[in-house]
Amino acid sequence: MLKFISRRSDLPLDHDAHSRFLPWLIAFMVFLANLAMVGMLMLNTVAERWDQGVTGTLTVQISPAEDPSEDDPRLQAILKVLASAKAIDRYEVISDERVLKLLEPWLGGVAKSKDLPLPRLVDVELHSGAQLNVIKLTNQINKVAPGSRVDDHRIWLDRLVSLIRTVQTLATAVLFFIGFATVGTVVFTTRTGLAIHREAIEVLHLIGAQDAYIARQFASRAMALGLTGGLLGLALGLPTLMGIGYLIGRMDGFFVPSLELGAHHWMIVGFLPIGVAAIATVTAKMTVLRSLRRML
């Protein structure tokens, strides 16, 4: 590999003005790829956690009865129903103070008034992996306490998860486009180089150079440009990623359960410059070989 890079060149490819823009283009693409990839990986983590974290929990909401004295018996009846369900591991009545706190953003100080009828909430946790027929439970609960609701968070979570999946598909498409654009740019640059150095290449060819000998010179140049661009892109991308990470870290942890990048994320990010250099090298080599094959 080192021998490959340090090889002396017979063609003045280093002085080609047209290829100087290549590292910047590649840097830009690596930057975008970085964002798309890390975004995708993070969303993946989020979607997985939500998926898991939410299957295990339910909230039962008992709307206040017209006669406040009926509230307690209704709650007790519901708790009895919950206790009899095999899939349920644990349940806990959420205290009025917490309910008030949860409602505060909407109701403000008014909620403090004891007169306001408050819904009672019961937090339910299922045995891990257990399946619960939510509709059946809802019916049972409504028999003892009409107007109560069982919220398994599924509906809005399903939507969120499918939204995340869509965004991930888009990000994958973006990654592919970035790949295509990189290949296209390298092909274009290499073709221009071939045209500029046509006469020198012809001399090498007539002197008895194998196609691979000529292709290697373009390939090692492309590798150097690709690696430069890749590292440049990484240098631009890392501060951005860290910034995003910092902002996320400051957010409340409910919607975004711990978004730090894992070790494998960093490995993928670090691999991008090498990957893009490899793409550039192989592309340049194939382009040159294909064009040389037209010569006798």
Binding site: R8, E202, L204, L206, I207, G208, A209, Y213, L296
Partner: protein
């Protein structure tokens, strides 16, 4: 080998059978060309401008495919030789191009080194041989000079050095004396004869009938796209007055410079590289 022949197959360096060549949809530039070059022969390729001399040489050094007919190089029929095998054949042919075709971004040294590097010769060996040959053609002071900074004659010597550095079995030169005065022209011819004596088969395309007449050698005459082969005749002893038209004084000066430059007119006798062709096997 598939080519039917009545000669020993290892003798013909180049063989053309009914070769025709046209560029695109144009007329046939070469028609029914038949000839064979024996190992160790020396030929002048002559014909008026546009007769197809350069085209014929291009066919030999595998820059062009014939429109019809068969070409064999070192007993390899080109049409059926797999493409990856062609570079090895090209390396056995040294070409002095009409317009030199030196790489302007490389030094004289690197230009001459190209055929060896392309063949994957070790850099230490390259250094030894290239320095020696450049010194031998009188360019030791100009090894690091780039071609555009060299005179026409110096560039010509670089291109000749590049053509012979890898000790080709066949040397093709397209108007190698086109850009130099007659004295330099004869010196270069002397060099080619020297190479020929060491076993290289030589073909030189030229307009210089004076040189052709004087040196004898065989002739390949192109006329109206057809090739006529003539065998060698007696050499005419050189006369300085004929060599340089004009005053006798000028002729004498020319003779002096020719003698001074003799250092590149002969192979160095003690050279293990150019004195003994077998040593080349070590690196080729």
């Amino acid at each position: 080998m598939i080519v039917a022949t009545d000669r020993a197959p290892d003798e013909a360096i180049v063989r053309f059978e009914n070769v025709g060549l046209r560029y695109g949809l144009g007329p046939e530039v070469l028609k029914d060309v038949n000839f064979a070059l024996q190992k160790g022969s020396f030929h002048f390729l002559i014909g008026e401008s546009g007769a197809g001399k350069s085209s014929l040489l291009k066919l030999i050094y595998l820059a062009l495919k014939p429109s019809r007919g068969l070409i064999s190089l070192f007993d390899h029929e080109i049409a059926i030789t797999p493409r990856p095998d062609l570079p090895a054949l090209r390396r056995r042919v040294g070409v002095v191009f009409q317009e030199f075709k030196l790489l302007n971004h490389l030094s004289a040294y690197d230009n001459v080194a190209l055929p060896l590097r392309v063949a994957g010769v070790r850099e230490s060996v390259v250094k030894k041989h290239v320095s020696e040959l450049l010194a031998w053609v009188g360019l030791e002071q100009h090894m690091q000079a780039r071609p555009p900074t060299l005179s026409g004659g110096q560039q010509q010597r670089v291109s000749i050095a590049r053509a012979i550095i890898a000790r080709p079995q066949l040397l093709l030169a397209d108007e190698p004396t086109g850009n130099v005065d007659d004295v330099m022209g004869f010196r270069l011819m002397h060099l080619f004869e020297e190479l020929n004596r060491l076993g290289t088969t030589v073909v030189i395309a030229t307009h210089n009938m004076q040189v052709v007449e004087r040196l004898g050698h065989g002739r390949l005459l192109l006329d109206d796209g057809r090739l006529i082969m003539e065998s060698a005749r007696a050499k005419i002893a050189p006369k300085l007055e004929n060599l340089v038209p004009g005053s006798r004084q000028k002729a004498l000066a020319a003779a002096e410079s020719a003698a001074a430059a003799d250092s590149f007119g002969k192979y160095p006798g003690d050279s293990e590289i150019f004195g003994d062709p077998s040593s080349l096997k070590d690196y080729l």
